[in-house]
């Protein structure tokens, strides 16, 4: 069954639908792969073998009954541990939620189950999605399948590593400042941050409510589109969910083309801090787009310079409030409940023991930024910057159909290298943050390996809000061109684990 795990999601679904393989066989092959390699990668925090096999069997039973199967029926998936799963542990990479089994499914979880997707387990992440390396997980870091001594990016390092190491063909991530796209870039996979409001946040444990967005992780653009379609769409349980038809992303992924498109290169995304090999691969990608028939336009988005500071005020502010609920009263960790301590002390002791350093740092930042007397200077000012960035995008999309940039300034860095330097870590999200602040859609897909270290480089495509289909149209064209240039998918060049 070694071939099975290398199939795309689309291939897997049609093999199951055609009866060439059963969903249970597919699930088992992936569970075996997890068993074989995850000790080296540590992509999963929790593997739900029984649940996966039962879900797979349900798909096989449905097929035996002659039911029509959906486009992802029986396809295994790795779910970021930030979405609630009824009765299955959900930790968000934090000790705070160690052992918590949610009493309800997230809307996204529900939709995956309804689509017949087989959830293999929950993937590792930076604690409460705060980080860019997955080193902030309370359960230990995840290794990059290209080199396990390096980070897979973050916060969704587990999801990206799971698909890059063929433990699952599909995964779900969440992107608050780049947590889907940056790990995709570092692992040579495809990751999409849908338009804010495109995928329900009900059951997504909030980091920063106005920025968080769930989205697909896959090895191909088409697979990402199939997953995108399965999870997107209006949800009455999420007030910020968009009540409009989902852009036809699957159709776009099947008809990739950039002919006649105007594509903008954001000139602010270059310069100091960018690795030479990343800039070289990006320049080639721009050249490729031109060869494929796109018109390349240089675009300036002057306010993007302020995206990082604005982000590090808005996200921690919302986080300081969102994470207040972890107080030991109703679920999760409880420390100091010995009859000697008051409720207030128990709350305090629990939060001291349960949160890691980065989470505490952001709670303090956010608490400060929202404080009386500082609100206008910090949170208020950051919201103004947010408006300016949104206007920069509007102006840019007045001139071009999509924007492109490197996804992240460098390739995968060694585990531990930036662990003590938050500012260096924060720079990993320089190119991805503006889209979170503006709420538009963006994708990262592989554009080669950097010469100096042989590690994957990501190309970011940015589309206006509600034009997610453009990502897939452009992405599919780029992917096809690279495939013919390279002769094989980039991941085939990753060393064996």
């Amino acid at each position: 069954m070694t071939e099975t795990i290398r199939w795309t999601a689309a291939e897997t679904a049609s093999a199951i639908a055609d009866g060439k393989v059963t969903a249970v066989e597919v699930a088992q092959a992936h569970l075996d792969r997890i068993e074989a390699v995850d000790a080296k990668v540590h992509a999963f925090l929790h593997v739900d073998a029984d649940g996966a096999l039962a879900a797979a069997k349900a798909v096989d039973d449905a097929r035996a009954r002659g039911d029509r199967l959906g486009p992802l029926a029986g396809v295994p998936l790795a779910l970021k541990d930030v979405f609630t799963t009824k009765g299955v542990p959900t930790t968000c990479g934090s000790k705070m939620l160690d052992g918590w089994k949610p009493p309800y499914d997230a809307t996204l979880t529900r939709r995956l189950k309804d689509a017949g997707v087989v959830i293999l387990g929950k993937t590792n992440m930076d604690e409460f999605a705060m980080g860019s390396s997955t080193e902030n997980s309370a359960y230990g870091p995840t290794g990059n399948p290209w080199d396990p001594s390096r980070v897979p990016g973050g916060s969704g390092g587990g999801s990206a590593a799971a698909i890059a190491s063929f433990q699952a063909p599909l995964a779900i991530g969440t992107d608050t400042g780049g947590s889907i796209r940056q790990p995709a870039a570092l692992t040579g996979t495809v990751g999409v941050k849908p338009t804010y409001g495109g995928v329900s946040r009900y059951g997504l444990v909030a980091f920063s409510s106005s920025l968080d967005q769930g989205g697909p992780c896959a090895r191909t653009v088409l697979d990402a589109a199939l997953l995108h379609e399965a999870i997107a769409g209006h949800d009455p349980l999420d007030s910020t969910s968009i009540d409009a038809p989902v852009p036809n992303v699957v159709e776009a992924a099947r008809s990739g083309s950039v002919k006649g498109l105007r594509i903008g290169v954001v000139k602010e995304f270059a310069g100091e801090g960018y690795q030479a090999g990343v800039l070289a691969r990006f320049a080639e990608a721009v050249e490729l787009l031109r060869e494929l028939g796109a018109e390349i336009v240089e675009i300036s988005c002057p306010n993007f310079t302020y995206a990082m500071p604005a982000y590090y005020l808005i996200a921690p502010s919302e986080a300081s409030s969102n994470l207040a609920r972890f107080d030991a009263m109703r679920y999760g960790l409880r420390v100091g409940d010995d009859g000697e301590h008051s409720a207030e002390e128990v709350m305090s002791l629990t939060r001291e023991a349960g949160f890691g350093a980065e989470v505490k740092r952001r709670i303090m930042l956010g608490t400060y930024a929202l404080s009386s007397g500082y609100y206008d200077a910090y949170y208020g000012q950051a919201q103004k910057v947010r408006t300016l960035i949104t206007r920069d995008f509007e102006a840019a999309f007045g001139q071009v159909d999509v924007l492109v940039s490197p996804t992240t300034p460098t390739t995968a860095f060694p585990i531990g290298e930036r662990a003590d330097d938050p500012m260096a870590m924060y720079l990993a999200d320089l190119c991805t943050i503006p889209s979170n602040l503006a709420g538009n859609a963006a994708m990262s897909l592989p554009c080669g390996l950097a010469d100096e270290d042989g590690l994957p480089v990501g190309l970011q495509i940015i589309a206006p809000a509600m034009a997610d289909d453009r990502l897939y149209r452009v992405g599919a064209a780029v992917e096809a061109a690279y495939l013919s240039r390279w002769g094989a998918p980039l991941l085939d060049r990753a060393p064996a684990l």
């Binding site: 979405f83 997230a106 946040r201 409510s209 972890f326």
Partner: protein, 500 residues
């Protein structure tokens, strides 16, 4: 501070000018909670009306209850407020175990309704209480502190949490500072809360029963020396939960502040608890610095933007407002201001109207509810409207009195029976044998006996002093334990004495 060492109310008002601010929370009577589909029914098993959203479970999200928004707008309109064209919810951040998210979803600088007023009657004069704002928010859960003597958290062995109330929609109505009321301040406060309660009930958005916590008042008070403009330091007396308590709490705080200030002390800005038993307040949490709630716009909700068309539609559905209805009824019934105000304060207008609808004369309906039944309610410490007697039952008692089958004394006994759960008025009359005796044969012996025992009086009557008959009627009533038909007794006595 004991009540005995306080400066007298009159002395306090000699020197100081009170300024009040009233914050009233009203629980809306919507079927479901503010941000989730859980039931709001009162009195259910603890923690049986909860879901991931109102328990603040990780990942759960709020969705605004449209009926609550509608109710908020109607309240705003009835209070002569402007209705925001666009407003947001905000998070009020603080830690407390009965608030699952450790923030309350409320409104901050963008309330749904603002800048209004409510006119209230105090001692025959109209007072305009200006409204600063009315905003929407969610209620918290309830903490029950067990094992201590006071029921407060200090000294308790452990606490129980009930989240059924958590997320019930609240409207908080905040007045602007109420200045210049002087010695009438406590009455203005009481009249304002009473009027607001009438208004809320007339709108049908809440039963506003204070004893159930459906309407709760926080009373802010400060004093300033007469003639000075700058406000003094205020205290905030929390959860003052009856009309009478509102009046008493303000009165106590005026005396307390005056005593402290006159002694050269300073008033501490703090919250205070009101004690129903002796009408005093004691210090609660001290606000050492202005509490920092770190308000920011709620990112999980989209702004509320009621269209002007909708607002006008809602304005058109407003019922006759209580002040207008009162003016109409006062004219119809021909009662004076004082009597009208008594009915309002007792909260009996609706039951009186229902009793009239059930067939009673207006006079009789007013008499029973404002007199006997109000007295019973006071004895029980409940609101009159909640007594276990219906308007129809009161109407029936009135009808029995009207027809002469009961006199007032017997009618009171019938009401006793109904309140004691003995059934309908007729059943109580039957069971307790309370019919007025007007049968001549039954009364004859008692009349003869009274005449024989009071020969002197009888002679006077025979001699033409007919007004003396009252003494003999009284004697007969006494021997018949009040059940005799007094009018018939009078006739019989005069007949026997050959006067008629």
């Amino acid at each position: 501070m004991s009540t005995t060492s306080l400066m007298s109310y009159e002395d306090a008002l000699e020197t100081y000018d009170p300024v009040m601010g009233l914050e009233v929370h009203v629980e809306l009577g919507t079927a479901t909670k503010m941000f989730c589909g859980c039931s709001t029914e009162f009195g259910a098993e603890p923690n049986s009306q909860v879901c991931p959203t109102c328990l603040g479970m990780p990942g759960a999200l709020p969705v605004v209850n449209a009926v609550a928004v509608e109710s908020a707008i109607r309240i705003g309109l009835a209070l002569n407020c402007n209705i925001a064209e666009w407003c947001r919810f905000a998070r009020k951040n603080y830690f407390y175990p009965d608030m699952p998210k450790n923030f309350q979803t409320s409104q901050y600088d963008e309330p749904i309704a603002f800048e209004g007023y409510l006119d209230v009657q105090v001692e025959g004069k109209t007072w305009r209480v200006e409204i600063e704002r009315a905003h929407m928010e969610e209620d918290t859960g309830k903490s029950l502190h067990m094992g201590g003597a006071t029921g407060r958290i200090h000294g308790a062995d452990y606490s129980l949490l009930d989240y059924n109330r958590c997320g019930i929609p609240l409207i908080e109505i905040v007045t602007k500072p109420i200045e210049g009321a002087g010695e009438l301040a406590p009455l203005v406060a009481k009249a304002y809360v009473a009027e607001l309660r009438e208004l809320i009930r007339a709108l049908g958005v809440s039963e506003a029963r204070m004893e159930l916590g459906q309407m709760r008042c926080d009373a802010n008070l400060s004093l300033r020396p007469k003639g000075r403009e700058k406000f003094g330091t205020r205290s905030e007396t929390k959860n003052v939960n009856s009309l009478r308590s509102v009046e008493r709490a303000i009165r106590f705080e005026i005396q307390r502040h005056a005593t402290v200030l006159t002694d050269g002390g300073t008033i501490v800005q703090e919250t205070r608890h009101f004690h129903e038993d002796d009408g005093s307040t004691t210090a609660g949490r001290i606000k050492e610095e202005a509490e920092d709630y770190r308000y920011f716009p709620e990112p999980d909700l989209v702004p509320v933007a009621p269209s002007r068309e909708w607002v006008e539609e809602l304005r058109a559905t407003l019922p006759e407002l209580p002040s207008l209805r009162r003016a109409r009824l006062q004219a119809e019934w021909g009662v004076n201001d004082f009597e009208m105000q008594s009915m309002v304060n007792a909260g009996v207008l609706d039951v009186i109207l229902a009793t009239i609808d059930a067939g009673a004369h207006a006079d009789a309906a007013r008499k029973w509810w404002l007199g006997e039944l109000s007295r019973r309610a006071n004895e029980r410490g409940v609101e009159v409207a909640t007594l276990p007697i219906t308007a129809a039952q009161v109407a029936r008692v009135a009808a029995l009195v009207e027809s002469g089958e009961l006199n007032d004394k017997l009618a009171r006994q019938v009401i006793d029976g109904v309140l004691a759960g003995e059934g309908e008025p007729d059943a109580v009359v039957e069971a307790r044998g309370l019919k007025v005796v007007s049968d001549d044969s039954a009364l004859g012996a008692a009349v003869d006996e009274a005449i024989a025992a009071n020969a002197g009086i009888a002679d006077k009557i025979r001699g033409g002093k007919v007004q003396a008959v009252g003494a003999l009627v009284g004697a007969v009533m006494k021997t018949t334990r009040g059940q005799a038909d007094a009018a018939r007794v009078r006739e019989l006595i005069l007949e026997r004495l050959g006067v008629s």
